[in-house]
Every structure is written in C-alpha cells, then in structure tokens.
Amino acid sequence: MKVAIERLEYALAPNAEDGDRLKAENPDWRIDDIQGKTGIKTRYIASPDQTALDLAIQAAEKLLGSGVDRERIQATIFVTQSPDYNLPTSACIAQDRLRLSTASLAFDINLGCSGFVYGLSVGGALIESGVCENVLLLCADTYSKYIDKADRTCRPIFSDAGAAALLARSEVDALGPFELGTDGSGHQNLIVPNSGARIQTAAARQLHMDGAKVFMFTMAKVPLCVGALLAKAKLEAGDVDLFVFHQASAVVIENIVRRLKLPQEKVFLNFQDVGNTVSASIPIALKDAAEAGRLKPGALVMMVGFGVGYSWGACLLRWKEIA
C-alpha cells in the first residue's frame, strides 16, 4: 500500500506501579520471581475516572498539536476493548472531543493486542481505495479496570495507555503486505465473561486469562504468522531491520524469538518500562524505537500483534521519519 505513518504519539496512564507497590498490597507475592518471568518492572494505571478514550484523546492532542490541521483528518478508527460505552462507539466521541470535521468517518475496532496491525490494514485500505486521504488511528486500553488487585496472573502484566498514529498517502509502497488470522476457539482463554449481552450478572467485570493456554497459542501461532508474511513478501528474516512484537511479557517474546531464531539486536523490547499496554503496545514500541535511534528512514519493520480472540496479525512497514 502507498500509505505511511506520518506521525505517532502516545500517552501512558498517570499512576506508575512498580514491584514495591505490588508487594505492599500483596505481601505473599514473590515479586522478584514474578518480575523475572514477566520482565515488567513498571506499569501505568489509569485513575478511577479516566478511561481508554481519555488516554487516546491525550495521545491524539499531542499528535494534532504538532502542526496537523484538524480539518484535514478524514477518518478516526479507535481500536479498544475498554470503550466508554457499549454504545455509542468511542470513535464518535473522539471525533467530537478532538473537534474533527463532521464530514469525517469514525468507527471502533474491538480487538486487543493484534489491533494496531488490524487498524493499519483497515486504515491503509481506506486510503489506498481513495475513500480517505488520511486516517487517525487511535489505540487505547485500560485493562486495569477489569483486574482485581489480588489477581497475580493479570495484574503484574497489564498497563494502561493510549496511542495515536496519523496514516497518510505515501509516494512509495511503504505498508504491507499483511498476514492476519483468527481462531475463535480460544476466546474463553482471555475474556471478560460478563462484559456484554451473553452473561449478565451484577458481579464486577473481571478479566480471566488462562496464561498457559494463551502462551501455547503464541508459541505455536506467532512464528507461523511471521513465516507466512515473509513468504508472502518473498523475504528472509535477515531482510527485516527490526521486529516489533506486541510487548506481551518477557517469557512470551523470548520464546517467540527463540523459536524464530532471531538475533536479539533485531528485536525491539520496551515491556520492562511500559508493561503490556494491549492495543497500544506496538505503536508505543515503534515510537520508542524511533526515539532510541533504532529506526532509520527506509528501515524495514515487521510488526506482529497477537492475543485475545484469538486474533493475530503481522505486517511490514518501510519506516519514514516521523514528526
């Protein structure tokens, strides 16, 4: 696709949580052991009155504040699984709060850790097909609102954040191909059971994650997805300058990298300092990689998202200097 990421910004939730905080609230947790496996040292938690939409707006305002004409935005896609409401869609509220044109289109995508790649494919297709000249792609989640403070499986991993990317037409073929996949047979393994119409109870909505099953899914599926994308692009792994995986946790990424036999220097990691920010994780990693000098203009990046659904997706991007 002749589409590029022109600008990229993110906003972390304001309340940093480290191992000391977890230990103070859960004295029986072996924090060193947990951090040894997750690799995550610091996570960011939204305030009680702060939602994923608020974090997405923060990121978008940073992006728009860097010299982007709001009237120019023709579409808003909001990837989230922590919307303000089941209805209306959060993207419509974002259009209003960001004072974007009413002549623009706006819709949500309900996906988690694969969501940025899916958002790029949909947003890119809107531009490529001539429906829009540009797309504001927002990715934000606040899984912390679905996690009990005593949940040792989920709490040490998930972090709240929002990211905003401006997609626009490019002179060169910069985005794609894509490799996207779904296996809904795993939907019960990462789920908030009473979050919709299927199960209606007054109980608190809580995230359930069968970590072992999700881990086996990632170990089996992600390397196949990467291999399929390389084959589709007629490339070898060595042709890719940087791999940016969804920043799930140390044990997940280390084992994907091991199975793919990738050199460590070609894999960007920032989960240690940010945590697993779900749909925002890949754009945050991209921005951090660029700021760390790991992405030079023209570099070939492979982004790989995977998780809840099960859903997975990978794509290639020819990096352009971003504002």
């Binding site: 072992a212 170990m219 084992n255």
Partner: protein, 84 residues
C-alpha cells in the same frame, strides 16, 4: 532424529526452571506443591520443554492443562517424545 526425554530429564528440566533443590521435584509433584510452580512458573516449564524438544512441545495444546510432572510425562509419552 526426534529428541526423546527420560523421566529423569523431565524432572531435571522442571527442577531447573523452578530453581528447586535436588529431590524436591518428583514424578508426583504438582502445580502448587513446589515453590514457584504457579501459573507463571508453568509458562517457564512449557518453554523449557519446547526448547529441549527442538520446538515440538509448542504444538501440544494439552501441555497447557497438565498440572503435574506425571501428566506432563504422560502427554509427552503419548506424542512419542519420551523414552520408554
């Protein structure tokens, strides 16, 4: 040639991942019976088994549900990944 593990090797892999002392892990050990063998520890065991078995364990979904050394060994035996 397919790598096959012995019971001693499976116990050794699990003990190493958990940082357990000699003799602390046996065929009768289960999740929760050895320090560190919780949901997080189990991921480390699955990863270590996959590494030792040249990537063949990742495709065995049932290993995610195995909750003891014996059940892990039974699953690996059923897939021809353990020595008789």
């Amino acid at each position: 040639m397919t790598t096959k593990l012995s019971e001693v090797e499976v116990i050794g892999i699990i003990a190493t991942v958990l940082g357990a002392k000699a003799g602390e892990v046996t065929m009768a050990s289960r999740i929760g019976s050895v320090e560190g063998w919780d949901s997080m520890g189990h991921l480390g065991i699955l990863a270590a088994l996959d590494e030792k078995l040249d990537g063949k364990a990742a495709d065995i979904e049932e290993l995610a549900m195995a909750d003891s050394v014996q059940s892990i060994a039974d699953i690996l035996k059923s897939r021809g990944l353990m020595k008789p």
